[in-house]
């Protein structure tokens, strides 16, 4: 995909927006199943927000509730008010919620022409966006034969067409090759860096670690974490200590307020820094052989946070 950047010659180019998506007490039930339950969070401008959760956690339902596509409880404010109260909703939020969000018999260009009508965008903007996502050569072809990756690009083109203040993308990296994923990552980071809010749901945790600055994690429709990736990961990181007298050091660390897990030939310590542990060991006459911070990965953090929150979970692998 070409390495073009967002922005450009559209009607909103150069304007500064302070946009935050504010989600308050969203709720939705399907029969007896509570899909989304009292969910509140914010999507700040200027950063990419990752929206994480196991399968069936309620991510897609939440996005549809935010946009008013599904009826439920709570409210979502875009730039201070519900989407329906904005004069030009397509300039407020661009969405890409389905993998193939177009009619197979309508050309890619005509699909975008249709979306351009609400914001009265010129034809030149359609050409610009098609070139940006690398679909200029197939602009006048019907997308029924598009690969999943091409379909995702067309969906992204539709989302950014009106240069909206916010983007909401549901699994946009599905079907993309590594080069396209890298392009998407850079594109979204640049888009957010221009002062816009970007909410991206994904189950690709390693990709999300590279793409997102802020994450919202849900499980069974409930919020389980909301913060920067560093905050979440550091909360679940610990310090590994290998020493000559683990039992004595463990007692010293516990008396100093640390939580200690005794492992094979080592201790895992939460609540104390490496400096504090070093001083305690020295004062207690314990020789430290190894002292290191063990940083949790986003995947480990995610697994700890969501726990048994996956619906329709696999059985044990034999």
């Amino acid at each position: 995909m070409p390495g073009d950047k967002p922005g450009g010659s559209g009607p909103d180019a150069g304007r500064v927006h302070i946009v935050t998506i504010l989600v308050e007490h969203l709720g939705k039930s399907f029969g007896n199943v509570r899909a989304v339950d009292d969910l509140s969070f914010t999507v700040p401008d200027g950063v990419v927000t990752g929206f994480l959760g196991p399968n069936g956690a309620g991510k897609s339902t939440t996005m549809r509730l935010m946009l008013g596509l599904d009826r439920g409880e709570g409210r979502t404010a875009f730039d201070g008010k519900p989407l329906r109260d904005h004069e030009h909703p397509s300039r407020v939020v661009g969405t890409h919620l389905d993998a193939r969000p177009f009619l197979p018999g309508r050309t890619a260009r005509d699909h975008l022409r249709m979306l351009a009508t609400e914001a009265r965008l010129p034809e030149s903007r359609i050409d610009h966006v098609l070139a940006m996502v690398g679909l200029a050569e197939v602009a006048d072809e019907r997308p029924k034969s598009f690969s999943l990756g091409m379909a995702q690009r067309l969906g992204l083109a539709g989302a950014v067409l009106a240069e909206p203040h916010a983007l909401m993308l549901d699994e946009p990296a599905n079907g993309l090759d590594p080069q396209s994923i890298q392009w998407l990552r850079e594109f979204l980071r640049h888009y957010a860096a221009e002062g816009r809010a970007v909410l991206v749901s994904s189950h690709l945790l390693s990709e999300m670690q590279l793409m997102a600055d802020h994450v919202v994690v849900i499980a069974r429709g409930r919020l389980v974490a909301d913060g920067t990736i560093d905050e979440l990961v550091s909360q679940r990181s610990d310090v590994v200590v290998r020493c000559t007298d683990p039992a004595r050091l463990a007692a010293l660390l516990r008396s100093a307020g640390g939580a200690v897990a005794e492992e094979d030939q080592a201790l895992g310590v939460v609540g104390l820094t490496t400096d504090e542990i070093g001083h305690l060991a020295f004062d207690g006459g314990v020789t430290v052989l190894e002292l290191a911070t063990r940083k949790a990965s986003l995947e480990e953090t995610f697994m700890q946070l969501t726990g048994d929150g996956q619906q329709y979970a696999f059985g044990e692998a034999s």
Partner: protein
């Protein structure tokens, strides 16, 4: 509202099926009209002249025209639900009533033009059939004036009922098939039973029988039938609109 109308115009005009169906609606009934006019003209020549009104009737071809065009009405909602486009449409136009109205208005506008073209083609085909049969061109004068207006409105309402059924059921095939099955199968059976029972009023309240009567009768009675046909559209469209506004996309 103008944004929704522009959106609907691009939506309806950028799919080939719209133009293909309009072409079919012009060609198929016209072809049939040509054949009937030729056949009646030929038989009439042998009998010493064409029987009055037999070859020149427009009303008989209108249900076929409407049945072909009702796929355009059904597609207004059906295509969007089938391909998930409805979520893009409603994210672009979160106020749902204007987009519902825009769909109805834009389909009605396109069908008015398609109906005028189809009726003109039928009339020309009937005249040509008479010429080929050697009895000379027979012009159906009912195609002009109030009768012609009713013929166009009958086709428009037929298609809008297909649109409303699709909006109600979110199912495009049902939206296409239901009006045809009602018009061709269900209502004739109900009408026959009613005739046996002596319930003559029932033809006034059956939608498609009433619609057909609107183009095969004249004067106030014809307009009355058309008004009842229009009421049936509202009977289906109003709950469809309420559900469209309230339910999940």
């Amino acid at each position: 509202m103008t944004g929704a109308l522009r959106y609907e115009w691009v939506r309806i005009s950028t799919v080939r099926s719209t133009w293909a169906l309009i072409g079919l609606a012009m060609l198929v009934p016209a072809g049939l009209a040509l054949f009937v006019a030729w056949l009646v003209g030929s038989l009439g020549s042998e009998a010493g002249g064409p029987p009055d009104g037999e070859a020149g009737g427009l009303a008989g071809f209108l249900p076929l025209t409407a049945a072909v065009l009702c796929a355009i009405g059904a597609a207004a909602f059906g295509q969007e639900y089938r391909h998930g486009l409805i979520r893009i449409t409603l994210a672009t136009f979160p106020r749902r009533t204007p987009i519902f109205i825009a769909k109805v208005l834009m389909v009605a506008m396109v069908i008015v033009i398609a109906a005028i073209l189809a009726i003109t083609t039928i009339v020309l085909a009937q005249a040509l059939g008479g010429v080929i049969a050697g009895t000379g061109a027979v012009w159906d004068e009912t195609a002009w004036g109030a009768s012609g207006v009713r013929a166009v409105l009958y086709i428009v309402l037929f298609v809008l009922i297909a649109l409303a059924i699709t909006a109600l059921t979110r199912n495009q095939p049902v939206g296409i098939i239901a009006p045809i099955v009602l018009a061709v199968l269900v209502e004739p059976i109900v009408s026959a039973i009613a005739f046996v029972q002596g319930w003559t009023w029932i033809d006034w309240v059956l939608p498609f029988s009433g619609g057909a009567a609107a183009v095969s009768t004249d004067g106030a009675e014809a307009w009355g039938h058309l008004a009842i046909f229009g009421c049936w559209f509202l009977v289906i469209a109003i709950p469809a609109w309420v559900l469209f506004v309230r339910r999940d996309a």
